[in-house]
């Protein structure tokens, strides 16, 4: 009797838990997610397909180093992106050195020091809006401040220094926002532990909050940096060169300069097909550079996350 009962129970339970319910909504949702991902990847693949063949052709016929190490020339088969690469990398360093400490300091103030009142809430709102202001507006601001304005004697006018400062202002809102978010993600219990043994606010910030937020702050900064380096709009106002000039060497902060987005923008408007190939090649160089900067960001984040 008992045996029959347990057999019956087993069959009933099996019938209940082995059935497969259809989950149409779940399947549709998953389908939409995959479709979105494919669209994003397709855009990247399309970019690479349209750019890579002509660009790689330039590299193979002239040699990669020839294209990378030659300065501007009026002849397309002699023109290289050396000065542009130098300008872009140098301005990247400038932006990082200026925007990271300032942005982190502002974020630390907003998150750890400022009291929560209407003023700090207004400041937060303004920063969020500044992050959405178009790059060309920052270009105009940089022109008014650094190229032609009160700081022009310091920057030397149309120079890399002006560019670095302008791009730093461009990325500052994003650096502040991402740093503030990284700081907010540090658990309150960690701060309490520090205060509990008699640490001051500054000591808690320096020894507990900043080391634990460092990974997030660096990631945000580097992503913003990579984005800013691709901007051509501000470069128009900074006087980036598009024709032969002397200089443009490493850390020539106050001389004539150019940068990769400016070169791409200029070469793409030239009629000769050879310039077309050069444009694609310059785009490839820019992509690899941005990829490299992002990789540095990921490596740094992993390094700081591991230390925790």
């Amino acid at each position: 009797m008992a045996l029959v009962d347990s057999d019956l129970t087993r069959d009933l339970v099996r019938a209940r838990i082995q059935g497969r319910q259809s989950d149409a909504a779940g399947a549709a949702f998953k389908g939409i997610l995959v479709a979105c991902l494919v669209t994003v990847l397709a855009a990247l693949v399309a970019l690479l397909i349209s750019v890579a063949p002509a660009g790689l052709d330039v590299f193979s016929t002239r040699g990669l180093s020839d294209f990378l190490l030659r300065p501007f020339s009026v002849r397309p088969d002699k023109a290289g992106v050396y000065q542009g690469t130098v300008g872009t990398v140098t301005s990247a360093v400038l932006v990082a050195v200026i925007a990271f400490p300032m942005g982190v300091a502002a974020a630390v103030y907003l998150e750890e020091y400022a009291s929560d009142n209407w003023f700090t809430r207004l400041v937060n709102l303004v920063i969020r809006n500044l992050a959405g202001v178009p790059a060309i507006v920052y270009g105009l601001l940089g022109f008014a401040l650094f190229v032609n304005g009160p700081f022009s004697s310091l920057t030397g006018g149309t120079t890399l220094l002006s560019t670095g400062l302008t791009l730093a202002i461009l990325v500052l809102p994003i650096v502040v926002i991402t740093s503030a978010e990284a700081i907010r993600a540090v658990p309150a219990s960690l701060r309490e532990g520090g205060y509990g043994v008699g640490a001051t606010r500054w000591e808690v910030t320096r020894t507990l909050v900043l080391p634990n937020a460092m990974g997030g702050m660096l990631t945000g900064t580097i992503l913003a940096l990579a984005r800013a380096l691709g901007e051509a709009a501000p470069l128009f106002f900074m006087g980036a060169k598009t024709s032969i000039f002397s200089g443009g060497d490493w850390f020539d902060l106050r001389g004539d300069f150019t940068a990769l987005p400016m070169i791409i923008s200029d070469w793409s408007t030239r009629p000769a097909t050879k310039w077309n190939g050069n444009t694609q090649a310059a785009i490839l160089v820019t992509l690899v550079l941005v990829l490299g900067i992002n990789t540095v960001g990921i490596v740094l984040r992993n390094h700081f996350d591991k230390k925790r």
């Binding site: 309490e192 509990g196 043994v197 008699g198 001051t200 507990l208 634990n212």
Partner: protein, 276 residues
């Protein structure tokens, strides 16, 4: 360290109290979290704060080392004296207060550092030692005091996160002891621990109370009965005009007295398990 370690009478002892509160009340903004707190904390005793959730016992505890300062809207009324000094006097530096009055929190919160660095953190900031044998000694003594030394002495450089929950909480106690405090505030230190780890923390409290004055907030009445010399029972009262809950100190007495013969009906209901 002598004195009324085993005293369980409610009358004022010969040693002046470490803390005394007079009509202490704490507000968060306009919300009155707890009021009418009148009690004395004696040296080398364990005092337990018990009561249902939201009765303000943790809030009161966090006044005792000015931890409430971290909450911007928190405000204190009445008087809270530490060895006769008003803790909320303008001239008092909360950082100095917290060096003398250590705190252990509800959830173990070790720093994301090595076991050694967790202990060395406080003494280094306080300038007690920088590194080398001096610091080694502080670390060893603190870990020994927290009954953790034998378990971790071979892996001081390992991350504190590798320890079990109970070990982490003892590490946090060792971290608090490392700066040489006089008082240890414990905010439900065993609520995240299993019974064995809880037992070890309770044993530890009995061991260290000859050197420290301990205040413990606990949800666990048996724990309060087991470990404490004096006991404060808090409960919540609903205000009629504003319909808000405010914590209030109902009874403060020797633990034995409180559990065997409470003077307030609400205390009796709570300790006999009829509510809360």
């Amino acid at each position: 360290m002598s004195g009324g370690a085993s005293t369980t009478t409610a009358e004022p002892g010969p040693v002046p109290p470490v803390y005394r509160t007079e009509d202490l009340a704490v507000f968060y903004g306009s919300f009155k979290a707890v009021r009418d707190v009148n009690l004395e904390i004696r040296q080398n005793e364990i005092t337990a704060f018990i009561g249902p959730s939201g009765c303000g016992k943790s809030t009161v505890l966090r006044c005792f080392n000015r931890m409430n300062d971290l909450i911007e809207s928190a405000r204190v009324e009445g008087r809270l004296t530490y060895h006769g000094v008003d803790l909320y006097d303008r001239a008092v530096n909360p950082v100095e207060v917290r060096r003398r009055i250590g705190m252990v929190f509800q959830k173990p919160n070790p720093f994301p550092k090595s076991i050694y660095e967790n202990i060395a953190y406080g003494p280094r900031l306080a300038g007690l030692a920088r590194k080398g044998p001096e610091m080694d000694e502080i670390v060893e003594n603190s870990l020994r005091a927290a009954a953790l030394w034998d378990e971790v002495k071979d892996r001081l450089k390992a991350s504190a996160f590798g320890l079990s929950g109970g070990q982490q909480q003892r590490l946090c106690i060792a971290r608090a002891l490392a700066v040489g405090p006089e008082v240890l505030l414990m905010d439900e230190p065993c609520s995240a621990l299993d019974p064995i780890a809880t037992g070890r923390i309770e044993d530890l409290m009995q061991q260290i109370k000859q050197d420290y004055t301990i205040i413990i907030v606990t949800h666990n009445m048996q724990q309060a009965a087991r470990v404490s010399d004096h006991c404060a029972f808090f409960t919540t009262e609903v205000s009629e005009e504003s319909d808000t809950r405010t914590g209030v100190l109902v009874e403060f007495d020797a633990t034995q007295q409180m559990f065997s013969n409470p003077s307030d009906e609400r205390t009796e209901n709570y300790v006999t398990g009829r509510f809360g």
